[in-house]
């Protein structure tokens, strides 16, 4: 194992052990399993449709992950900042990107554990009927990829603060943006305004070391101008960020390259943003 993989591996194991060695972690996992099972079976539509699939859960999964995943990621960096261990960690022979990757994989590991336990839903389907193996595989791959994206977005939220509650709220808002982006034109435009405001704040902070609020205001004003100016692609671009829309094909048993690229690419962009945010201590 190369020394770089050792660093990522050590962080991965530490995060996994930290979450699974804590009773709170099991409470979150239990809530996730109960919520997913309730969404899958405790609805009228599941039995009235008389099909052995997870279509009802697919509708609810983005909303469940919107709350569950930020609960996993909220402490990833906020706890480090609050306790000062970020200074200990970042003065060891580690690169910022390795820290981000190790922590991401640790949180993704926790989510994967939750997802594995939720396979009880598939067992229930097999008991009630005859679910299609390919459909189940595609559906769970979709859950996993969507969870990976939400973990990365939740991690971005954790980078901004030393308070885990604030980190949870920021992470949930970020994930909520991806969930509501495609629901209606106004929702897409609202997400667009927030994204442009965040980019404006980040750009001004990098260039001048301060003035994030002014950068956010300029970004938001640009967004308002594009939206009210009737620029057609403005709403379309942000509607295309919709996680449920990209997940839909997985729920139908299809593996579309574009949808896979959306989740993988979105995860990579969020992780890159985390690396930038860790390095902002130098600004």
């Amino acid at each position: 194992m190369s020394s770089r993989a050792q660093v990522v591996g050590a962080l991965f194991r530490k995060e996994l052990r930290s979450f699974l060695g804590n009773p709170t972690g099991y409470v979150f996992l239990t809530l996730f399993i109960v919520a997913s099972a309730s969404a899958a079976f405790l609805t009228d539509t599941f039995f009235s449709r008389n099909l052995a699939d997870l279509a009802t859960l697919n509708q609810w999964m983005p909303a469940i992950l919107m709350f569950f995943v930020p609960a996993v990621t909220m402490g990833l960096w906020a706890d480090e900042r609050r306790s000062g261990t970020d200074e200990l960690l970042l003065t060891l022979p580690v690169r910022d990107g390795e820290v981000v990757l190790g922590k991401f994989l640790g949180a993704l590991g926790v989510y994967t554990v939750g997802l594995v336990f939720s396979l009880a839903n598939v067992a229930m389907l097999a008991y009630l009927g005859d679910p299609d193996t390919g459909l189940m595989f595609a559906t769970y791959l979709g859950y996993w990829l969507m969870g990976a994206l939400f973990v990365a977005v939740g991690m971005v939220g954790s980078m901004f603060t030393g308070n885990t509650t604030v980190a949870f709220i920021l992470g949930a808002l970020g994930c909520a943006g991806l969930v509501v982006a495609g629901m209606a034109p106004w929702a897409s435009a609202l997400v667009g305004l927030v994204v442009l405001a965040a980019l404006g704040a980040l750009k001004v902070s990098i260039l001048f070391g301060r003035g994030a609020a002014i950068g956010a205001l300029v970004g938001a004003l640009v967004g308002v101008g594009l939206w009210l100016g009737g620029v057609p692609w403005f709403v379309d671009i942000f509607a295309a960020l919709s996680a449920p829309a990209h997940f839909a094909s997985f729920g139908e048993g299809l593996l579309r390259v574009g949808d896979i690229l959306y989740f993988v690419g979105g995860t990579a962009v969020a992780l890159y943003l985390c690396t930038i945010l860790i390095s902002r201590r130098h600004w």
């Binding site: 930290s18 060695g21 000062g84 200074e87 003065t91 022979p93 580690v94 690169r95 201590r281 130098h282």
Partner: protein, 252 residues
């Protein structure tokens, strides 16, 4: 010539006109000093003088706004050089931050994994456990340890890879008198083979462990030289207060 004398010579830590500015506040104003190999140097100054900011810059946690730092010939603000530097540097940050849900053993094993110590981990852990006298608490969660034991675990992680250089930010902060005596004794022992820069605001600590002294006040360098040079013309206490009064006047 003693072993310690023969080790001395080349500059191990160098700060050249280091400044750090946060918005309208300058935490450091053009601070320059050098620490030679095989020296125990005390970085002395009141709270808020810029000691921790300087140490964060020297270890690569922060980048200076202007100026340049150098440790063992590496530039800590260069990401790749910082990696190489940190393989040969041990650092105890201010207040000894540690993962409180881990035990000292888990902490040391985690740091050993990050540092890639590999097969030598067991002997390295045994060495630092003996050096820092933490055998009794190795299996207790750090959250349940006293401040003194936490500080010793922090020292142990800094020593795990047997570094050439140690940077210790207020290593005796929060310790009781007996613990302070033990940590100072440890620093004196380590100073025989390593270059050590430690920050403190305790005047007696300087005389207890250091041969060279750097004094900062109001983010500015007030003095850099040997302990004997600082003592010339008065006690360390008298000289320190005189230097601080002068820096306050300059800042005003």
């Amino acid at each position: 010539m003693t072993t310690q004398d023969s080790n001395r010579g080349s500059v191990t830590i160098r700060a050249e006109n280091l400044s750090k500015i946060y918005g309208d506040f300058a935490a450091l104003h053009s601070v320059s000093f050098e620490v030679r190999r095989g020296t125990v140097a005390a970085f002395l100054g009141p709270n808020g003088a810029g000691k921790s900011t300087t140490m964060k810059i020297l270890t690569g946690y922060l980048a200076p706004t202007t100026g340049r730092a150098e440790v063992l010939g590496f530039d800590p603000s260069d990401p790749e050089q910082r990696i190489e530097m940190s393989r040969r540097l041990g650092y105890l940050p201010e207040n000894g931050p540690l993962y409180v849900d881990m035990t000292p053993r888990e902490t040391l094993e985690f740091v050993a994994q990050i540092r890639g110590i590999g097969a030598g981990t067991r002997s390295a852990v045994e060495r630092v456990v003996a050096q820092c006298a933490i055998e009794q608490v190795m299996s207790k969660p750090i959250a349940k340890l006293s401040k003194g034991y936490r500080q010793r675990v922090g020292m142990a992680q800094a020593l795990l890879h047997d570094p050439e250089v140690l940077i210790l930010d207020e290593p005796t902060s929060g310790l009781d008198p007996l613990q302070i005596r033990e940590v100072r004794q440890l620093i004196r022992e380590l100073g025989r083979s390593k270059t050590i820069l430690l920050s403190t605001h305790i005047l007696s600590e300087v005389e207890a462990v250091a041969s060279e002294v750097i004094v900062v006040g109001e983010g500015r360098l007030a003095f850099a030289g040997t302990l004997e040079q600082l003592r010339a013309g008065g006690t360390v206490e008298e000289r320190f207060y005189a230097l601080m009064d002068r820096k306050k006047q300059e800042a005003a």
